[in-house]
Symmetry: C2
């Protein structure tokens, strides 16, 4: 008899965004004349940069010609032309990452979700609460015990390590989804020391690093001494270059990073992950990799910067309104997420319904990310300037937060 | 301490194609003047069909325009425009598959490798020997017990079920990689009955179905009565439409297919897989899905047929030579693989070295696919007509098989 992996029974039934989708759908059906503004799910609105489209098209045409056609990629881990560009990109913030340490993925979510495959089911996983659900659900499926570190108003939604608590695998996300908080170098150093002391591994989700504008804040965990022996970093082109529907990201695994057998023998983590990918993945589409390469060209980077500025304008529209309304929030400055709380709405879903029903604005209830999210609410800066301004106008005029 | 999933220690160290690659590399370095003909790895040589390139390019351009840009795909399971085409494609061989039962993947290998996630680690997996290594390695990583059914000359490399042996998950590949053998409907019916009697699940790898030219041979397991309650089917566009480097495939999961909890409760398999994908995958690149859609257009199908005919010509060049040399083989007629044996070379790697060193032809030693592959050798029909003819000429003139 084919048996279920019963860890699946431990998963929550309703995925946050499914529930939001259902409520919005019902509202839209009942109110067909309303102009709904969606600032819930973290999808972008700007198209691929022109330089990216040109490179993407060129590679597609190569695939139609026998002499330039590319089949299976030898390694399935990414072409050198792209890995080299990522390595160069890291140099810009003072981090030395060898091209061979860069692995190209079809997006941060795949690597993030599949990464558990190489860890023992007996390991304990630490996540912050509130948390991006993928870290939790993928580890529940893998049968690992999950413990949480409280992120809350007191610590600025930047949970720090507690040496009395033991964790083997630690997920950190900075700039944080959902709270928009960003760790300082000193704070990350505490996590790196914690992990090195325990031979634990930090999975550092840097999907939003490009939104960091303050030069002192770290854009990579590898800016921290000691990170190369305890951390992997997962990155995305989704939000910077509009790859949400085109699918490409990259993961950095330092050569010196190890896992340990039960008899305490070191096993190279990168080799183990490559062995996993060798059996369960066959590389990212060649034209998509050429498109990603163009993101890192001078022209591509100029367009990415313009896109980031556009989204940062949205973030400022939102935070200016919250400042005006005297509402507490984190994020918005070095992050595309704005995480706010309202004394009048201690229940996140009540505020969700209020915003949807009274001003046709869709956000994300913070309680969907964990118990510490209750009473908080997430807005994203990925809409258009016009819609963001309109949403804030409606809120300012109609809702007492 | 971050611990290794120790199932990884049970994997064989040297992956077959890595070893082949190393031997070929050494030979090429020592013999820079030799014209090496590669008929080992199953990569294709013909480019993407023109209709596919046109659709692919158009979709890339859409991604560069705000009004037509597509970000995250809602479901991550494939756009309806492509799922509908796959559903239509099945109708051509008399199979009714609803669009909602078709899930779009970034290639057969990913779904094949990741599929184990939803099964209990306590399940027993049955594979044929010889076998495509992905079935074995991905299940070793998942901690499942693997048993083998002998495929050999006596049963035409089409292992049949033995009711005395118990298996919960069964991997079948027809047309077979590596042996080129194809199950008849009656034979598949035996497997379907075996699986239904045990509530087991068949993972049917139909990556090479388009190579079947005899109308009585089944191109889908869903042509067999009872398959919808016991089978999933994994398909690929890699070999038919040249998607080895473009990456797209599809998996069919019938609505009525279940897994069972340890207390014998039925859980829908498709829902479980969708839950898995929802946390660990974010869909296939939109332009790639548009390219795949064009494979199923009238123009695309005409070009695919021309490509198949081209590769079938190669298969005939190979089998004509083997017939002439009085060498035993399977495959070649309804399959792109030709699997032959030579009395003079009972050691597959010895024949590999002989072909490489004496005539600069690269094939795949059968022993790399399992114990029953010893003494056998795989050639692929995916090279060019010219190179295939040249390789066969060299073998005919130089090597006594």
């Amino acid at each position: 008899m084919a048996n279920l992996n019963e860890n699946f029974l431990k998963l929550k039934k309703n995925y946050l965004f499914v529930e939001i989708g259902q409520r919005v759908k019902a509202y839209a059906a009942a109110n067909p004349d309303k102009n709904i503004i969606r600032m819930g799910i973290g999808d972008v609105t700007l198209p691929l940069p022109a330089a990216v489209v040109a490179a993407f098209e060129k590679a597609v045409r190569e695939q139609g010609v026998k002499e330039t056609f590319r089949g299976y990629e030898d390694s399935g881990l990414g072409y050198d032309f792209l890995r080299d560009r990522v390595s160069d990109y890291y140099k810009a913030f003072g981090v030395s990452v060898d091209s061979s340490e860069v692995l190209i993925s079809d997006g941060a979510k795949s690597d993030c979700g599949n990464f558990g495959d190489i860890f023992s089911p007996d390991n304990t996983v630490l996540v912050s609460d509130p948390v991006y659900p993928v870290y939790v659900d993928s580890n529940i499926m893998g049968g690992r015990t999950i413990i949480t570190a409280d992120s809350n108003r007191e610590n600025g939604f930047r949970a720090l390590p507690n040496n009395d608590i033991h964790a083997d695998i630690i997920y950190l996300c900075s700039p944080n989804n959902p709270t928009g908080s960003v760790y300082t170098k000193d704070e990350l150093k505490l996590w790196v020391d914690y992990a090195n002391n325990r031979k634990s591994v930090i999975v550092f989700d840097a999907a939003y690093e490009a939104f960091i504008s303050e030069p002192d804040l770290p854009r990579s965990i590898f800016q921290i001494d000691g990170a190369r022996t305890c951390a992997v970093e997962i990155c995305s082109l989704s939000k910077t270059a509009g790859f949400t529907g085109t699918r490409c990201g990259y993961t950095v695994i330092p050569k010196e990073l190890n896992l340990y057998t039960s008899s305490n023998e070191a096993v190279n983590l990168g080799d183990t992950w490559r062995r996993r990918q060798g059996s369960k993945f066959n590389g990212v589409s060649y034209p998509v990799q050429r498109a990603a390469e163009a993101v890192f060209s001078d022209e591509g980077q100029a367009e990415v910067k313009a896109n980031l500025d556009y989204y940062k304008t949205n973030a400022k529209i939102i935070t200016d309104t919250l400042d005006e309304l005297n509402v507490s929030y984190t994020g918005g400055k070095n992050s595309p997420y704005i995480w706010f709380t309202s004394k009048r709405f201690p229940d996140s879903w009540a505020l969700f319904d209020k915003l949807l029903n009274d001003v046709s604005v869709v956000g994300t209830p913070g309680s969907g990310f964990g118990k510490n999210g209750e009473g908080w609410f997430r807005l994203t800066a990925f809409s258009t300037n016009e819609k963001t301004a309109e949403a804030m106008k409606r809120i300012r005029e109609t809702i007492q937060l």
